[in-house]
Symmetry: C2
Subunit: 391 residues, 2 copies
């Protein structure tokens, strides 16, 4: 199958590209490297230096004899996206090419608007290009479980059967996202639900939970094939952040009460889910939604697990509650369905203490690389108006 | 009260500005005249030539001794919106400043992306500026009934009480909009719901039905104070379009089966609703939603009413079904609540045959001004891919 990975230079994009290439698919990646630039601007970096995308593709060729074709450009640029689709004619498109951080989107007006413009308009440009050039291709779009927020009812997969005043309909599940980033994904979902119906496109929306993990089968083959491990306040997801804090001898910073419950999955399962989606395409005209996570934890439960795993590695870690920089409920109902991908064969990797201990051992190879200054949150969801901000 | 009207040069914006000025409020308008440029690009024009915004403000001063302050600029431009808010310090902001046409948004990728960028990013820029400069002001934002689509359940005002698996919550009403324009309003609603909660802003979202009408108390005072009457496929709403077709001796073109049911209101009631909202502001932190329409009709019912009204004016009109350019159900359940504004005192102007006859008489003063070429729809929701479009 010819598979195009948009955002193929990222934490998930590059491992996904290698995963498909190793299974004999014809793979191309498209990336404009904007995330590397954002990292520079914010003064953060992955725990390990990451080779350029071109170097990675070369290393993959040397290591495995597999080819990944590299396109450099912006999916929001009409001529770029149309050029790539016309030349590569993908049968499946995995779209990771969005600004992926909630705190980034909450820095200020510029970053909020940049996040929504980049994500929503880029995805629109892609949908129009698919309609014109590869209308039968299958779009696999990464959404987020954060689109749903934390409603007081169980979360279903994309849709909800509603009875009201004696009548019934199956409607989009109501969304209550908690940042301008999460909002951009909600906008994408609405746009793509319409586009699928309008143009008979095949679209799968993967509402992904929080991903953790350092390694996949392919990243482990050669140091040059490693994927970026972020532990900073912008791009570091919570488990990866706790692991880095344990290694750096810092307390594990729990935001607020720690009762925030979310869905989580191992990076290996991201690859498995995306592959399952690709091998079982949505029907023409279908906007299919899967909730992509394997387990649910509260922040406090995660901190406890990391403390236990650190002890196994001879590290004494402790958790510490800090004021919550976000606007979110800290104790709430959370029960989300994730049966769609399981039914198609997903075999979850569970988050065990041993898995966490392995991550800690991995990060502890070079503890001096961890910058302690970039972990503690500085972006506050609720901030003083600019006009009255203290100097 | 100091009231800022964004999009104050438009069909509704200008009458709204005059309405508040006549009632003794301090009024400013902000507009970048982009809609006049879009009209030129598309080759359409209002039925009557419209004075410039500056001329209109001058004419209002001469006619009534009322002042409307004119700001020219783009709400999506950070320095513009912050400059205007800092200088005028509005207590209420009525935001009409968006691309208002579904067919415009469905022309092609450029127009879809332009519509979403203009509407969603402009409104975001405004929300951030309010937070920083006038956090206690009341934002009255124009949404559309089209955000809901035509679900098979009754439509409530913004929220829905949902019971699911034995638990309950009040959640945003699920949205199923039918164009990239309508989608932009859904995105606005989600962004503003979050912003209200995040920053304790006061926001009223008016999900407006289809507006008809030629005249308000203030537009009737002087020809230079007239508002734009559009009857073209882009900016002409259906009743105004039928009136123009009757006057031009064309059949009233009903899209498809004509069973499409929607909410409608007279332009005079738009002014009344916006005034009611302004005089009864939302609470701090509240995202309040009203459905702003007074009556529900099917397209076929409207065509019959216009035929009857035309006969009263000695014009023999007939309706004619044409293939539906849109993607929409043509026979469906439709029952939307609109009790919020009624409870606050809205006194509806009903769509009677006499009201329609008055509109026909108004348009018939210069039938030669009606361009027959711009009424029949050319924008198709479902079009051939560009790659295979015939030359």
């Amino acid at each position: 199958m010819r598979i195009l990975i948009i955002g193929g230079d990222g934490y998930l994009g590059w491992p996904t590209a290698m995963h498909f290439a190793q299974r004999g698919h014809e793979v191309a990646v498209l990336d404009n490297m904007i995330k590397r630039r954002w990292e520079s601007e914010l003064g953060v970096a992955p725990l390990w230096p990451i080779a350029t995308l071109t170097e990675r593709a070369q290393a993959l060729r040397e290591t495995t004899d597999r080819e990944v074709e590299v396109f450099v450009g912006d999916v929001a640029d009409k001529s770029v996206v149309r050029g790539v689709l016309s030349r590569f004619l993908p049968e499946a498109i995995v779209h990771y090419g969005e600004q992926p951080s909630a705190p980034f989107s909450m820095i200020d007006a510029e970053h909020a608007i940049l996040s929504q413009a980049n994500n929503v308009l880029g995805t629109l440009q892609l949908a129009f290009a698919m309609h014109d050039i590869v209308p039968d291709a299958h779009l696999i779009k990464l959404g987020t479980m954060g689109e749903y927020g934390t409603p007081n009812i169980d979360i279903e997969e994309g849709y909800l059967e509603i009875e009201h005043n004696g009548r019934r309909d199956r409607l989009p599940f109501p969304k209550s996202p908690g940042s301008f980033y999460h909002l951009s994904k909600v906008h994408d979902s609405h746009n793509l639900m319409f586009a699928a119906k309008l143009w008979n496109l095949r679209i799968t929306d993967l509402n992904q939970g929080v991903v953790y993990g350092t390694t996949t089968d392919e990243t482990a083959m050669d140091p040059r094939l490693a994927t970026s491990f972020h532990y900073d306040e912008y791009f570091g997801t919570v488990i990866n952040r706790f692991v880095a804090q344990a290694v750096a001898g810092m307390p594990l910073t729990v935001y607020g009460a720690g009762g925030q419950k979310r869905g989580y999955l191992n990076i290996r399962d991201t690859l498995q889910c995306v592959e399952i989606a690709a091998m079982n395409p949505a029907s023409a005209g279908e906007f299919r939604v899967f909730n992509q996570f394997t387990e649910q934890f509260t922040i406090d439960e995660l901190a406890n697990l990391v403390v236990e795993a650190a002890a196994k590695q001879g590290i004494r870690a402790e958790k510490k509650s800090i004021p919550n920089p976000r606007m979110e409920l800290e104790n709430h109902h959370y029960n989300a369905r994730n049966s769609g991908l399981i039914a198609l064969g997903l075999q979850p990797h569970r988050l065990t203490v041993d898995v966490l201990a392995g991550m800690i051992a991995w990060a502890a190879q070079h503890p001096e690389r961890i910058s302690r200054d970039v972990i503690i949150p500085t972006v506050q969801w609720r901030k003083q108006p600019e006009g009255v901000r203290e100097a």
